[in-house]
């Protein structure tokens, strides 16, 4: 049997996703109409003999997460548990801490998936690849191709062209190493815990030694358990005949900034046309005009004179008035777009209201369309002290008056604006 672990991080992570991560844990933010990690879960449940999915993170138990667990278990008919780290233990520390739980029932292997990626999740292919290798104890990481410049923002993999063995691994190098990058999706056997365990023992000894010598450990004792898969494990495993890369050409992106959520939505929506056509809104004589791929929650009320798409996701209970135009945007539940509004390249927060004839517009941060290997840049908000033009984000319960324009701006929750804003963060 198989299991899967999804690394969901915690409240201190995902700061580039603010202000949206104030309202909902980032892994539950809706992408193409469903919570980000539901795409992971669905992919896992399609793997034969998948028996359990474990979410590991350091969020306090919360209602949103509990509700999600209940509904996802119902929908996918598979046990899904949340295991909470007592502190951020890193991408390797968490799974090591909970190794007994992960190994209970004796899975032959388990997947580990970063929550903040969007992907086709070629999990069956990774399994088949591992089996082909003939070594039941080898570990497989999913890799994809980036361009030289952007590869520096990722974990870089040098592999043997024939065997696909990982010969060298560097996390976010400062100079070019390889265009093959780590997708944050792994297939491990239980033997991985021996390798993590070795690292754990060694750091613990170093810390003990340091304490004997009277050195103040800056992070305290618990930090022996903080282990990063990338820097601490993969770098050591490279070149030892243990770690292999399975390269995919399927779609893949990180979801770091809010802008990348719109891009990820586009990727998943276009996947729906093959695997979930029922999730895409049809063009019908009674309904609004749909251009390209659009997700409409069944409870949303959309005037038939509205024009939506491409790449629009509209959440629960959203009200879209007459003559509204929405393109390349995510409208979160309870929001209301009044007549004739125009929303482009934006995320409209929960229960926000946009007045008549207002225009809410952002600048997309899409990857260069002429470079097949380009990834989305998830830059920080500021460059040279100036806000870089980005998508426009309205936090939860924001009110935009009629007839104004909000351009390339980020509006924090519960704000009632009274005029137009451009290129600003509105606190």
């Amino acid at each position: 049997m198989l299991k899967a672990v999804i690394l969901i991080g915690g409240p201190q992570k995902g700061t580039r996703f603010r202000p949206l991560s104030f309202e909902v844990p980032k892994p539950l933010f809706p992408v193409a109409g469903v919570p980000m990690i539901q795409h992971h879960i669905e992919a896992c449940t399609k793997v034969p003999s998948m028996k359990e999915i474990v979410l590991v993170g350091f969020y306090q138990p919360n209602e949103a997460l509990s509700r999600f667990l209940v509904s996802a278990q119902q929908e996918f008919k598979i046990p899904i548990r949340y295991l909470q780290e007592y502190a951020a233990l890193g991408t390797g520390g968490g799974i090591y801490h909970f190794r007994d739980q992960i190994l209970s029932g004796s899975p032959e292997a388990f997947f580990v998936l970063n929550a903040d990626v969007c992907s086709e999740f070629p999990l069956p292919e990774m399994l088949a690849f591992q089996q082909q290798r003939g070594d039941p104890h080898s570990f497989v990481m999913l890799g994809t191709t980036a361009n030289r410049k952007q590869s520096l923002n990722y974990g870089c993999i040098v592999a043997n062209m024939e065997t696909c063995e990982v010969l060298h691994y560097v996390e976010k190098p400062s100079t070019f190493v390889s265009e093959i990058i780590n997708c944050g999706i792994y297939l491990f056997t239980p033997a991985i815990f021996q390798h993590i365990g070795e690292v754990f023992q060694r750091t613990q000894q170093e810390l003990l030694l340091g304490a004997c010598l009277g050195e103040e450990s800056p992070n305290g004792w618990q930090r022996a358990e903080v282990i990063r898969l990338e820097q601490d494990i993969f770098t050591a495993l490279a070149g030892r005949g243990k770690l292999y890369v399975y390269k995919t050409d399927g779609f893949w992106s990180q979801i770091k900034s809010a802008g990348s959520a719109i891009y990820a939505s586009r990727l998943y929506l276009s996947q729906y046309s093959q695997c979930h056509p029922e999730r895409l809104a049809p063009n019908s004589p009674e309904g609004p005009t749909i251009r390209g791929n659009v997700y409409l929650h069944p409870t949303a009320s959309i005037d038939r004179s509205a024009v939506l798409g491409p790449n629009v996701s509209i959440g629960k209970g959203v009200m879209v008035g007459a003559g509204v135009r929405v393109r390349e945007s995510i409208i979160l539940h309870g929001a209301s777009l009044q007549d004739h509004t125009c929303v482009l390249n934006s995320i409209v927060g929960w229960d926000s209201t946009i007045g008549r004839w207002a225009r809410v517009e952002g600048t997309p941060s899409d990857p260069n369309p002429n470079d097949p290997y380009a990834k989305i840049d998830s830059e920080t908000l500021f460059r040279d002290g100036r806000l870089t033009p980005s998508i426009t984000i309205l936090g939860c319960n924001v009110t935009i008056p009629a007839e104004v324009v909000i351009l390339n701006s980020i509006v924090l929750p519960h704000k009632e604006l009274s005029r137009s804003f451009k290129n600003q963060i509105i606190l």
Partner: protein
Amino acid sequence: MKALILVGGYGTRLRPLTLSTPKPLVEFCNKPILLHQLEALRQAGVDHVILAVSYMSEVLEGAMRTQEQRLGIRISLSHEKEPLGTAGPLALARELLTESSEPFFVLNSDVICDFPFTDLVRFHKHHGKEGSIVVTKVEEPSKYGVVVCEAETGRIHRFVEKPQVFVSNKINAGMYIFNPSLLHRIQLRPTSIEKEIFPVMAQDAELYAMELQGFWMDIGQPKDFLTGMCMFLQSLRVQHPERLHAGPGFVGNVLVDPSAQIGENCTIGPNVTIGAGVVVEDGVRIKRCTILKGSRIRSHSWLESCIVGWLSSVGQWVRMENVTVLGEDVIVNDELYLNGANVLPHKSIAESVPEPRIIM
């Protein structure tokens, strides 16, 4: 009576509109700028208008022939080989202006107001001196040349260019009446009437100022053109409210040509002029704009403080604001945002203009 209208300049400040149409023929509140003046002059008893032009325009000539017929007055074009400024053209038209011994009017072509020509004749005859000019009060006199005159009689003492301390809030409104004897003061060469002729006349105590009642605007540039439109429509509201458009979806003072079509669920106004044959589709919001003849505004667009040039097309969900001016036959694609764009004629726009700039 006779009147000479100075229509010499190229109207560069009203580009891109004046790249397609001579400034006097650009419609202001659905009527060519020059017609506002011609009609008011005729009303005051003028039967011969001389247009002082420094460039020849067949379009202008043709239009004037039509107006001669329509208004039943004589219109002459006095064409100068080189620009003669604001006084030189009077010398060039000396023969026409001295056909009779009556005083004659001189006007700048791009001012708009409740033309006070009848009052001006009365005022001029009353003081009996060589010239009278109309002055109007402004809020910020330091931006203009001001006129200092005697409160009781209007006799002008002097002119002060851009005064740094307050001396007067009255400025030259660009409308004058003169006795033919004025022509002795002017040579046939480029001369500025404001700078070279008026100060001398003031010294000679031959120049009087009559204060204008009501609104006044120099509409020679787009921003002022729109401000002038607001003033003009407000005066229509007072004097001829029946000419303004009312009904559901119309707010404030709105002038709509009868041949224009307005869709459903629009909100138009305040201060909007919609020209002949214009089509405004459903769900459009327009305020403080002039939409010139034959243009189309597609559904759900939002326009404020814009001039849309003849035969242009503004796409759906377009937002245009901040003195955006479209020249003739401009196409703005759907969903764009134009902020203070100045678009030259026959241009198709496919990208937003988030900051004011000229689109060649």
